[in-house]
């Protein structure tokens, strides 16, 4: 079953009061997210990720196109009791304490007091906020607010969560905890839809990704399909490299770096290095290491976005 589907979703924002102008923030977006997967929406600043989430949450209304969540239109009241949402910058009532905030949202979900209490305590523990639970939110650091924000997302035990930059403001430990939390959610059958800039995290977590640029979808699919596995470059580290060999390397490699006595050479393909190998041995150089490099999401992302920018 598709848990999220958008068809031709488009959003124009109005600017100015006197001289009206419009800017397209999202342009005919078609997306589908399947039950139980971790879906990552990535794209440079201003690409339209947050706009997509706000449209899905019914906070802003589409200029054209439509979206469904769990097979229902986004404005169906039934939808909200089954989803969790972490806004980009979590703004909460800052006069409430962390614990009060969770209870407050629990009330809005219509949870009974014992259930609220049990869930709030479990979640405070899970996000590592038990100790600061009785301080008002206005005294929280950014990362602490983010943690409470994540806890409130899960108060109703949602089937589907939307996280807008869940890692922002978290320290390395927090990021790792977040990663394992997302995995844990997936194991318990929750579908996770998130936006992020931190591509290694996306790569480590997501089953599928969609790349957005200037409001347009430039690519979407399984990570294994998007990242071209046939392009396998190798990174080689050499020692005692003579001048003529260095020149030969520069000619057939994509990147050459000298670090002290060592030379780091990147070849687009393993075969390029194979051809150079006899010259290396002849020149009296030593091979320290040969590492195959799989294409990273980050490189792919940068390349795709640049290409989209050119055309």
């Amino acid at each position: 079953m598709l848990v999220v589907e958008t068809v031709g979703l488009t959003k124009d924002y109005d600017y100015g009061h006197i001289k009206r102008s419009r800017r397209r923030a999202l342009d005919h977006l078609d997306l589908s997210v399947e039950q139980g997967e971790i879906f990552g929406l990535i794209g440079p600043n201003g690409a339209g990720k947050t706009t997509t989430l706000k449209l899905l949450m019914g906070l802003v209304f589409p200029t054209s196109g439509s979206a469904t969540i769990l097979g229902l239109p986004v404005d169906d009241p039934e939808v909200k009791s089954q989803i969790g949402y972490l806004p980009e910058q979590p703004y909460f009532y800052d006069y409430l304490t962390g614990r009060e905030l969770l209870h407050h949202f629990g009330e809005l979900f219509g949870l009974s007091k014992p259930v609220r209490k049990q869930r709030a305590e479990a979640l405070l523990e899970k996000v590592g906020m038990s100790e600061a639970a009785d301080e008002p939110l206005r005294k929280y650091s950014k990362g602490m607010t983010q943690r409470i924000g994540i806890a409130q997302t899960l108060m109703n035990e949602p089937k589907l969560v939307f996280l807008d930059e869940p890692m922002s403001g978290l320290d390395p430990v927090g990021r790792r905890e977040m990663t394992s939390l997302v995995r844990e959610l997936q194991r318990s059958g929750v579908t996770v839809f998130f936006c992020s800039h931190i591509l290694p995290d996306v790569e480590a977590l997501c089953d599928r990704v969609a790349i957005l640029n200037q409001g347009k979808l430039i690519e979407s699919g399984r990570l294994s399909e998007i990242l071209d596995v046939s392009i396998r470059s190798v990174s080689v580290v050499l020692e005692d490299v003579g001048e003529s060999l260095e020149r030969a390397c520069t000619e057939c490699a994509i990147d050459v770096h000298r670090v002290g006595a060592r030379l780091e050479v990147s070849f687009a393909e393993g075969a390029d290095f194979d051809r150079l190998l006899p010259a290396v041995i002849e020149g009296g150089a030593r091979v320290v290491s040969v590492t195959p490099v799989k294409q990273r999401l980050e490189e792919h992302f940068v390349r795709e976005v640049e290409r989209a920018g050119e055309s």
Binding site: Y13, K54, M57, G58, L59, V60, F61, P77, K80, S81, I83, Y85, P87, Q89, P90, Y91, F92, Y93, Y95, H104, F105, E107, L108, F109, G110, G149, Q152, N156
Partner: protein, 255 residues
């Protein structure tokens, strides 16, 4: 229903955390009790002055509380974006708005009660009979305030807090003169002016409908039908304002 009630209760709790509210209340009580001093100075009419000033204080401070807190309730949540996490819970925009409205009415009710107690306390100290007709006047003041809160809510669904405050203040003043608009064409009778003033007359709330202060202070009888009509008028007006507010708010992009 449960959600609306919860939002209302929460709004009430939020407003009573507001320090501005206590300052205003303190000020109102000071003013009411100062009427005691004023009453002492003027020899003959002391009771009249106390009642006059007391009722005026309740009306004015109620108005200030309604505007200052009323406009903040919705526009502050839009500005601070605390709304995002509320409206993505099972809370409809209508429930949110009506809950906010009812919550503020509750806050005002408690405040008006406190001010009323203050007024009666002064009368008690003066060893005066506790005129129950004052309650009728205060009740109608409260009805007026509930209309005003609905006006504040309406404006804050589509404009910034500052503008909403200005507009609501304007409506409050205009609401006292709207009755004059009805007969405005006898003064200026040309072109579209009469149409405009007639239109405004029917559009603006008529706050004089709720004003029985001078009659009560003068000890004149108040007819039950007059109170009944005023209540009916208030309810009708509030429903219309809330329907309009919801209509606007449901279409608003929360950017």
């Amino acid at each position: 229903m449960r959600t609306t009630a919860y939002v209302a209760l929460n709004t009430y709790r939020e407003t009573v955390r507001d320090k501005v509210l206590y300052n205003l209340l303190l000020f109102a009580l000071l003013m009411i009790s100062s009427s005691y001093v004023l009453g002492k100075i003027s020899v003959y009419q002391e009771i009249k002055i106390i009642k006059d000033l007391g009722l005026a204080s309740i009306s004015i401070f109620g108005m200030v509380i309604a505007i200052f807190i009323g406009i903040g309730l919705v526009s502050k949540e839009i500005d601070k974006r605390t709304l995002y996490s509320v409206l993505t819970k099972p809370v409809s925009r209508t429930q949110f708005l009506v809950g906010k409205y009812l919550g503020l009415c509750l806050t005002l009710f408690v405040n008006v009660c406190v001010m009323t107690l203050g007024l009666y306390l002064v009368l008690l100290v003066m060893a005066e009979p506790l005129d129950p007709m004052l309650l009728v006047a205060i009740f109608l003041i409260y009805m007026k305030l509930t209309v005003l809160v609905a006006v504040a809510i309406l404006f804050s669904t589509f404009t910034t807090s500052i503008l909403a405050g200005l507009f609501t203040g304007f409506i409050y003043v205009a609401g006292y003169f709207s009755a004059d608009l009805k007969n405005f064409h006898t003064i200026v009778d040309s072109g579209i002016v009469p149409i405009l003033t007639k239109g405004l007359y029917y559009l603006l709330p008529n706050f004089r409908n709720f004003d029985v202060k001078s009659a009560v202070v003068a000890g004149l009888p108040i007819e039950a039908t007059q109170v009944g009509w005023a209540v009916l008028y208030a309810i009708l007006y509030i429903v219309l304002l809330l329907v309009a507010s919801t209509w606007i708010f449901q279409r608003r992009n929360l950017k």
